[in-house]
Amino acid sequence: MKNLTRNSRWLVCDFKFSLKMKITTLLLFVALFNLQATNYAQNTEISIELEEVAVIEVLNEIESLTEYKFLFNRNDVDVERIVSVKVEKEGVKDVLNHVFSDSDVTFEVLNKQIILTTAKKEASIKIEDAQQNTISGTVLDEEGMPIPGVSVLIKGKYIGTETDFDGNFSLAVQEGDVLIFSYLGYKTQEIAYANQKSLSIALLTDVTSLDNVVVVGYGTQKVKDVTGSLSQISGAEIEDRPILQVTDALAGKAAGVTVVSPSGKPQAGGFIRIRGTTSIDASSEPLYVIDGIPVQTIFDLNPNDIESISVLKDASSAAIFGASGANGVVIINTKRGHSKEGVISFDSYVGVSEVTKTLNTLNSNEYIDLMDELGLSADWSQYMEETDWQDQIYRTALRQNYQVSVSGQDEGTNYYISGNYQDTEGVIRSNEAQRVSGKVNFSKQVRDWFKIGTNISYAQWRDVDVTDNAGAGNGGVVLGALVTPSVIGIYNEEGTFTGNPLQPSWENPVAGTDAPEKEYKSSRFLGTVYAEIDLSETIQYKSRFSVDESNGRFQYFLDPFSTDWGRVNEGIASESSNKNFYWITENMLSYKKTVNKHSVDVLGGYIVSKRTASSFSAEAINFANESVKTIAGGSVVNYATSSETERANQSVIARLNYAYDDKYLATVNFRADGSSVFGPNNQWGTFPSLSLGWRLTQEDFMNDDGFFDDIKFRFGWGEVGNDRIRPYAWYGTVAHGYNYVVDGAIVPGIAPETLENKDLKWETTTQTDIGLDLTFLENKLNVILDYYIKNTDDLLLSMPIPTSTGFTSSIQNVGEIQNKGFEFSIIGKAIETEDFSWDTNFNMSFNNNEVINLKDQVIMTGSIFQRGNVVRTEEGQPMGNFWGFIAEGVDPDTGDMIYKDLDGDGVINADGDKTVIGNANPDFTFGFTNSLRYKGFGLNIFLQGVSGNDVFNATKIETEAMTDFKSQTSDVLNRWQQPGGITDMPRAVLGDKTNSDLSTRFIEDGSYIRLKTVSLSYDFSGKFIENSFLSKLRLYVTAENLATFTNYTGYDPEVNAFGSSNLVQGVDYGTYPQTRNIIMGVNVSF
């Protein structure tokens, strides 16, 4: 095929190549096999006046004036020959007759393409005519639908045809010919002719081409047409990794997308931030859309079912989601069938997890010494054990995954059915999570004009949590393992759990993992049915109805014997449950038309949705015994409460995509959203966006010797909203339950709980994005650069108000946050040969966050036990600032910490001497993936990292403060003990928190580079497979978090005790550490 393209000379002869030429080639194909271009007026008349120019320039001129495209081989056709042309209103044929009158070039007009050949070649073809046979066949796409207009050519010759409307073709061939099937957006396939009478082939989507289709909001777009900023992650990039939750898979995979994985707990999942945090009190999580259904959570989604993930990052691509798009949108599509024969697959892995490090703690003598120094004593002779609590708490945990799927596609039917079981133990004793899920995706083209389909999934989830992010006195297991003295043993003689001799209710951490029986279980049905009706060739109607229903239940029982807390309450049982039901209908009309060089794609739709949520929780205490472990067994009900809420949304959407000559691209979005959560004065919001693209390489002035295959400038602007606040937010609600006792009986009391705000509305994010997409080295290298400025104003702020009002806060639209940043991705196919390939993907993101306006309010958050708030949010500063004293070492005379007296008043106090001591935001984040393949072997190395962020290591406040009966880490062995002592560890002093106050003493650099994934696989092929019933057999070994390079001294720098908090990031407070996971897996297909 390449021989026929007019740029082949460049490739062969001087190895310079031009993007423009390549694109022209693609356009030639478009033109040549364009179905719609059946009858381009042969009598199109043009006027040209060119003096002494190369033939090629004449051809260019004709291309620009008409829809004709030229197809020829530069080796045969001399296009550098100088000619002069002067014609007025003549047909193209006449012009060409004139141009080629003095040469041996002949031309043939086929639809809108013109093939130039030389007489010599034609002669040779004619000779071969004598030995021709005829082959016929059908060309289908991956779904088994016929593809019209596919080019079918014989390799090395100039004979070809294209498939008709039903995908059929017929061609004269001779033995030994190789047929080349090609079509825009699909991989070109070659098939040798060996006397077959007919053949049927399926073309695979070409994933590397600019014409690859990406998923955007309410539709798809070709990469080359995209004007917004989005990243796509294929399901293949998640494969081979021991991932329980999809969010865990995205870290480092896409520029501008950061995933905060607050802990190593399997049920924790990650929190996604797209281009920074945009909100303070509303959620900053992106909107998730699974198979077209907008959902709130994706923890129970089976990652093995994912085909692709699209992340819409800028306002122009997310604006179609209006009031829920401000944080970006993550569109997840699940797998479909790809092969006509159908594939039965079995995938499984089994592996282990462990903590990457442990911390050294005091042994019994060291502990007793410390207690002596604090003046605390007990009858230590009773406590002679030596227990390594970290050893007791952390374990080598198992994880396993089994997936069976059947998929295929045939005659308009596409199906994918899967079942999955995933079981992940946490590295902390008793912690585990399991999921069983099933999935059915089905679609059928019932008539030419009518398609119907459904995506259904059902999942059951179960987990057992452990308490982390809490002090040992509050049942925190991680801190419990660090500060429980080693001397006390696990059990007392009577079988109860031991406690600290100096504070017996502080029991050992095994009490925290083993004593409570707890379990969370949920089930979820997620289903959608859709129909697509082609009303005409240009107008399509789509209708979709979806349901998301989930039920969750948490149960807890603490027996009345084994723990202090259980004994005091004589047993505790609690239970809470929640039900969520969500339905959404979407009705869309789309119109697609190309006229001359104008192509227009219009979408309009109407969306209605409603969510109902109810919850119930109750607790009972005072159990006679352990025989009944539910609330029914308790004799005193502590509380029983329920709530029910609804929220409704209505939306109208409209989109216009316009392209001129594939050169100038524009997309305009409009969405109007009405939401029940906002005040009557602002119930409706409008969200417009505009984006423009300019494919520079399509311009004439870009000379043929250009280095680039494609250059596209993108510009996008848009407004999107965030409505992620509680239902009824604008109402002044009055709560029941403020009861009192009159005459020995409880009487009901009511009191206002929230303040009314009739003006309440969504927060608005206005984002401007400038992007540049570069493709070069023969499409082998892609560089995508984006710069954005993102302003979020009318923040939905739970504004702290004077408590003298009787309220602590009021939801108001105040304040403004700005995120601006730069991000880039480099995607390359460094090497691609039959035996060896090397794909690489590097992305890097820089984001700068600043609170522009907060109405002079200072928000202190991130409460550290007994030390106050460590995170300060204020105007003119980035979010995530740590606030505290500047520690200047330990005074050799007193052994106390020296703090900098910033206001110089001679006294160290919180009012004047605290300042910004760090920031949790990284300077940049990056991900670097390398996939190497040699024959059957595959090696995938994924590095991920962040740089320039601080972690506030509040764990050390618990493990190094030396203020009470807690055991500590071995670092305190360096503590100051006598005047003149030079050390960085202050003295032990009972009950005095001054030395361990919030200060730079606990700030650490949280930068890290992590060898996130290393995966080695072997794909069996050749005789072994051919002689078996298998079609695929693949084995792999994967290690996650194999090595982490960091200066952080705690367990792991990827940490946040405050989970998904917008304001508080990077605080380590007895947080469940990240784990190292190693698995062995197998993929088998039949």
Binding site: G375, L376, A378, G499, P501, L502, Q503, P504, W506, D564, R567, V568, Y606, V608, I621, V636, V637, N638, E644, Q650, V652, A672, G674, S676, P680, Q683, W684, T686, P688, P727, Y728, Y731, G732, T733, V734, H736, Y738, N739, Y740, V741, V742, D743, A745, V747, G749, I750, A751, P752, E756, P802, T803, S804, G806, F807, Q812, Q866, G868, A910, D964, K993
Partner: protein, 490 residues
């Protein structure tokens, strides 16, 4: 752009109204009501009033009052040293960022706000009888005064807030009123309450002791005028007499321990009492924080350890009845800075005024106003005014009930005798700090204290001064309301 948006908006709304019911988006809360629909009937306003009483179940009246009145003064030590905020109460190092003072401030104002809601909404209730209406207003104003009294004692002048339901900074970020203005506001509320509340609701003592009555209002007026910077002792005597001679028939119980044995709440001596029912969500979790392991059933170190100084006060008066009623001693496995630094299992005293923990769900009630306090207050007023027997017979009444002989104090010593008698009688009921402040004894008392910390082997330096009489205005509140000025010294 704006115009375009509006036109588009109109089209959209027109379209939607065709397509879907226009009330689709107008959803009202299901499991809570709204300020718009909650205050319509008599039952509604009664429920709103109940919520004002509910503030008596907040942390301050549950246990912080003991920290404030007894731990802060010479009556108690803090307890566990890991609770640094409470430790600061004991050591008199309370800083403006102490979380407890902010929580208390917030809770007092929450109660005040609920009272303001009642006063605001009651005008719209039509079916209400005039008598009940005035009672409700009286009850709300009594409770509002009750909460403001605690505010003004602890923080000095605080903002007087009468409106509800706004977050407008112009109306909410208001400066502090003066101490005198707050007291004037309190007395106005109480004078209305005294005039409009009944001596008895006629439904028995379980109702009369739990609800605001004329007697409660007069008792509070007596306390307010005593604590007032002007110390109007004539008014103290006037309102104390109103209580003593009340038709409600207030009378001391014959036996001091009976008051606190848990079986005789809502008795004739009680004037106003926080009501609880054990084993329900309206149970009292406070006692669990004070009672020793043998009673509470848990093993951790408890709060408000009675001080050696307090125990000495009982011992030197040979006050066996009251020390045994108020304090229990138990051998514990932990060290205590003041009792057993070296040897575990030496006896440590515990606050024992409430005697039942019942797993954080006690039925023990809290006396907020009781006759013995009012009698001693009257005695104090008489002694200040050099009136009659200088309050001697009132003091003797209290002493005799506790099994002690008449006081041996001369007239000149009566004020000291009364202060001591109040300490012995009212220990662990949040009176000591206020008593010392009112009698201008707080600074010398705290600075004269000799409390030996056995661990450091040093006497605690309380460094008491004028500034520490008041708490700092909570920093968290100043952040919310920059118009607030901090108290001197903080």
């Amino acid at each position: 752009m704006k115009l375009l948006k509006n036109i588009a908006m109109l089209c959209v709304i027109a379209f939607i109204n065709q397509g879907c019911g226009s009330d689709f988006l107008d959803l009202e809360p299901i499991s809570s009501s709204t300020t718009g629909n909650s205050y319509k009937t008599e039952d509604d306003i009664e429920a709103a009033l109940v919520a004002v009483y509910n503030s008596l179940h907040n942390e301050f009246y549950t246990w912080d009052n003991v920290l404030m009145g007894d731990v802060r003064s010479d009556n108690c030590y803090a307890g566990p040293p890991d609770d640094v905020d409470i430790w600061a109460y004991d050591q008199l190092t309370i800083a403006s960022n102490n979380s407890r003072i902010f929580n208390n401030w917030r809770d007092f104002y929450r109660g005040i706000s609920r009272a303001n809601v009642v006063l605001d909404k009651i005008e719209g209730i039509e079916e209400l009888s005039n008598t009940r209406k005035h009672q409700i207003i009286g009850e709300a104003r009594f409770l509002r005064a009750f909460y403001y009294f605690d505010l003004v004692k602890q923080y000095g002048g605080v903002p007087i807030v009468e409106q509800t339901g706004t977050a407008d900074p112009d109306k909410t970020q208001i400066p502090r009123n003066t101490i005198e203005e707050v007291y004037a506001f309190i007395t106005a509320d109480l004078e209305f309450a005294s005039a409009n509340l009944p001596d008895s609701y006629g439904l028995g003592m379980d109702v009369d002791k739990g609800r605001a009555t004329k007697g409660a209002s007069n008792a509070l007026l007596a306390k307010v005028w005593a604590q007032h910077p002007l110390h109007d002792y004539a008014k103290v005597i006037q309102y104390a007499d109103a209580v003593i001679n009340s038709a409600a028939g207030y009378a001391l119980l014959g036996d001091y321990p009976t008051l606190f044995n848990g079986n005789n709440y809502n008795n004739s001596e009680s004037i106003f009492e926080a009501q609880y029912i054990g084993g329900t969500p309206q149970g009292n979790w406070g006692p669990q924080l004070f009672l020793p392991p043998s009673i509470s059933g848990d093993g951790w170190r408890k709060y408000a350890t009675p001080s050696k100084n307090l125990i000495n006060a009982y011992t030197s008066e040979l006050d066996v009845v009251r020390v045994n009623t108020n304090i229990i001693t138990e051998r514990v496995p932990w060290v205590d800075e003041y009792y057993n630094a070296d040897l575990p299992f030496t006896p440590v005293p515990f606050a024992y005024k409430q005697k039942n923990a019942d797993g954080w769900n006690s039925g023990d009630q809290v006396y907020l106003l009781r006759l013995a306090d009012i009698l001693l207050l009257k005695a104090e007023a008489m002694a200040y005014l050099n009136e009659g027997d200088f309050g001697r017979s009132l003091v003797d009444q209290i002493r005799n009930r506790a099994g002690l002989a008449n006081t041996a104090a001369t007239n000149g010593e009566m004020l000291d005798a009364i202060l001591l008698e109040r300490r012995l009688e009212l220990a662990l009921e949040n009176h000591r700090w206020d008593d010392l402040v009112r009698n201008d004894k707080i600074i010398e008392t705290m600075n004269n204290l000799q409390e030996l910390n056995l661990i450091t082997d040093e006497f605690v330096d309380y460094d008491m001064n004028e500034n520490k009489i008041l708490l700092p205005i909570p920093l968290n509140e100043i952040d919310r309301n920059p118009a607030l000025e901090q108290n001197p010294g903080y």
